[in-house]
Symmetry: C2
Subunit: 492 residues, 2 copies
């Protein structure tokens, strides 16, 4: 039936936009480029937040909250960072509205309430946080400082897409301070690893860990690690980044500490973040032409029970069995909904839960009751089978794990089949055009070549994978010597 969704093969981008809206995940708002995250979409985000928050705390990080606004002078302090974000900044210039003297039903920014110094709505919080850390760090005893913030940020984008690129988005940003370079680098690596494990184990999305080239680095960082995922349409998506900031922010904000030996040294820094963009990765990794497909770990409803009945009496009988199942599943920590609404027919309910990606659907009719069974449908494979009511909860518990694993295996399979080694630029263009995915090619290490390839093909270097071994070769574009392959792709 397809719920009126455009097919992926017809127009992937249109399919994505329709799915986000029809599955009740998010929608565009009255504010240009800003989205409304709807309850169903937000419930998925909350599950991501809870799991990540636990992982951050287990590794010694604490949450805190820093201001939404950054005074312009602070924002300017770290030059590269300022330059990198200046073109995307929302600027607050007034702190009061007044009635429009020309139209008493309208309001205008009060010219008498112009700020002496403009405030930037944070596009990222390094500046405001490092201006604060200056007061918190005096001695090696204050280090490491391991802080995370859950917050909204604003980066003005001209072309926006729900979850993938919005003017305002939600994220977490970790900001840590360390006594030594080695510790800061270890933290950068640790957080990238935490992101990789989270995205793979919890979201069932395989990722490649690596390092960004200088051109693709975070503005203000000395090194950026990342996790890169591959979407169904062959485009890559950067799913998380972890930055080694060197002493750049410590120097910009003059943050020094007294070492054990009593010397004054600048602090070493990292920052790392993932955002609601992960929702986009989730959708474009698992979903199909019928709608959303959710890994059980992230499903707000893991199992739904739909009664198939005629009349009150049948519903009453079925409800007894359904409630037994609900109790048994909840006892195992499985989220289950018994949808006994009489305003919707079973077919409409099936379509809704399919569209919204509920991993398992149980249907119970009078014949099922008589046979001591239920009909169990898997969202990921779109298969259904009769299953005995006896032992159903254990069966489902195992099946949910199987679905989680199977989704990951399927995505990994696809991803691995879409990493192609190429050795000539002709081959590069041919694979990029006809197959898509990651292209493993030699590159001469210059920003110039990187830029030319980007201009010619729209492909960028997604990362220099940690797992790639050194290998003698020649650049796919210039023929100059290269010591390792890198991964190119078109990307979101």
């Amino acid at each position: 039936m397809g719920k009126g969704l455009t097919k992926r093969s017809e127009d992937y981008s249109k399919w994505y936009n329709e799915l986000v809206v029809k599955a009740d995940l998010a929608e565009n708002s009255a504010v240009r480029g800003c989205m409304v995250i709807k309850p169903y979409g937000y419930a998925i985000w909350e599950k991501m937040q809870a799991e990540l928050d636990k992982k951050f705390k287990e590794t010694g990080h604490q949450n805190a909250y820093f201001p939404l606004f950054v005074p312009k002078s602070l924002f300017e302090a770290e030059e590269k960072n300022a330059e990198g974000f200046a073109k995307e900044c929302a600027v607050v210039t007034h702190y009061r509205l007044k009635t429009d003297p020309n139209d008493s039903t309208k309001l205008i920014a009060d010219p008498d309430a112009k700020l002496e110094e403009e405030l930037i709505v944070r596009p990222t919080s390094e500046a405001i946080i490092w201006s604060t850390y200056k007061g918190w760090i005096q001695s090696y005893r204050d280090l490491p400082l391991l802080i995370n913030q859950w917050a909204n940020v604003v980066r003005w984008e001209m072309r926006t897409r729900l979850f993938l690129r919005t003017a305002e988005f939600l994220w977490q940003e970790g900001h840590t301070a360390h006594a030594t370079k080695a510790e800061a680098i270890a933290e950068t690596a640790q957080m990238n690893e935490i992101y990789a494990n989270f995205v793979q184990d919890f979201m069932a999305i395989p990722v490649i860990q690596g390092r960004k080239t200088e051109s693709e680095r975070f503005a203000g960082a000395d090194d950026t690690y990342c996790i890169e995922a591959l979407m169904q349409d062959g485009k890559a998506l950067q799913a998380g980044t972890s930055h080694f900031l060197g002493q750049n922010f410590a120097k910009a904000f003059d943050v020094k500490f007294a070492t054990k030996e009593g010397k004054q040294e600048h602090v070493w820094a990292t920052s790392w973040g993932v955002s609601t963009r992960l929702m986009g990765a989730l959708i474009m990794t698992h979903s199909d032409d019928q709608g959303l497909v959710l890994p059980p770990n992230l499903a707000p409803i893991q199992v739904v029970i739909v009664p198939i009945y005629k009349g009150e009496e049948q519903l009453a009988e079925i409800s007894v069995k359904a409630n037994e199942i609900v109790t048994a599943l909840r006892a195992k920590g499985i989220t289950v909904k018994f949808d006994n609404r009489d305003t919707h027919r079973p077919g409409a309910k099936f379509a809704q839960y399919e569209l919204q990606g509920v991993p398992l659907r149980i249907a119970i009719g009078p014949k099922d009751l008589a046979k001591g069974q239920v009909e169990l449908a898997r969202r990921d494979t779109l298969t259904k089978n009769p299953v005995p009511s006896e032992g159903l909860a254990e069966y489902i518990e195992n099946l949910l794990k199987e679905i989680q694993d199977s989704l990951y295996a399927k995505a990994l399979n696809y991803r691995d089949a879409h990493i192609t080694e190429v050795n000539s630029f002709e081959e590069f263009k041919e694979v990029l055009e006809n197959k898509g995915g990651f292209i493993a090619a030699h590159w001469d290490g210059t920003a110039e070549t990187e830029d030319k390839i980007k201009t010619l093909t729209k492909a960028t270097i997604r990362c220099i994978p940690f797992e790639f071994k050194e290998e003698e070769g020649s650049c796919v574009f210039t023929g100059n010597p290269s010591s390792t392959r890198v991964l190119f792709a078109k990307a979101y």
Copy 2:
């Protein structure tokens, strides 16, 4: 010792400011009026959030997220609401910065990137949410719509104080839509009750539930319910509000639904919120001249263990016992920290945990080990006693409950002793000046009288308590007839 805190009797306001900073709860930031919530303060806020979020979900509410910005034209739509908040609005006028042509190290708002329509940073979200609800509500089947949002909001304040009044603050705002007036009023009452129970049972702060006068109502509401608490200095603090919005926003944004009978009617609305202001209420209800006092429910660390030792060997012996205690307490879900830092002496640790309000402190020295006991100190009473190690976890589990109850009882005692019935304006002024607290007085029901009393005494009507019975009387100020007493107080 007092940790250098000003005494409450000397200067309550100074004591508060010092306490917030010294106990590591929050501090002022580089942005005028905006605070940094430090990890320890944020951990307390997270505990409030978790408990409230659970209560909201148990009553059928779902979380969602709406944009930070409100286009000016939407903001104007509900006139009273717009008028009420216009003077406190931060206004975004530009979406890009560029290099200052007069100084290449500086940035300026790019004149070519001026927004056609200014964006207001949300001071509250009714406008943006009701413009969204218009698309979500068509039929009675879409109602009730029960949504909550955890977010930051900005209200520009000229005189700010940490937690109590800051330009940016964190809060939750519930926004619900209903088919009937009665349902919306029931929701308003239910949420006020949830707030009251939360603040009393979880935060150990007694509150009075009531209704605001028209002058003190939320801008755009037909009725505002509230919970009012009393601080140690005799001033009241509004701890939460729940608004019945009538059809005001539905009319402003043209949100109608088809009834079962097929008629088109405007929807009925509520909104309700509590904020980081609750942190201020928490501090000013329980704390003392030694620092913060926390009810166990809100303490990020409920029990701290401090070893008293000389040399590695003693520490090793004590650590065995300490770790046993840690394990036993954690098994009971009690949060415990074993502070074995060798960089700080026991006295410094004692002072720190006293300042930060850790409810119970266990000290273990070699003599305690020999006697099979520990020294247990209560933060709320500042008493300490030897307690047998045997059965310590059960003892502590019960004691934490006792402390929670005892803090509430103490605060209730104080609050009840500070509700004074007065029958003349002389008495009113005398009590307000010398005793403080709530004054229960007759009022003639006019905004004019309310305003005059406020001008003369700075006391406002905090609420018309639900529990107050009808009672014939005459207004304490005008002598005009009155049918019920109301509660006046000076307030935060």
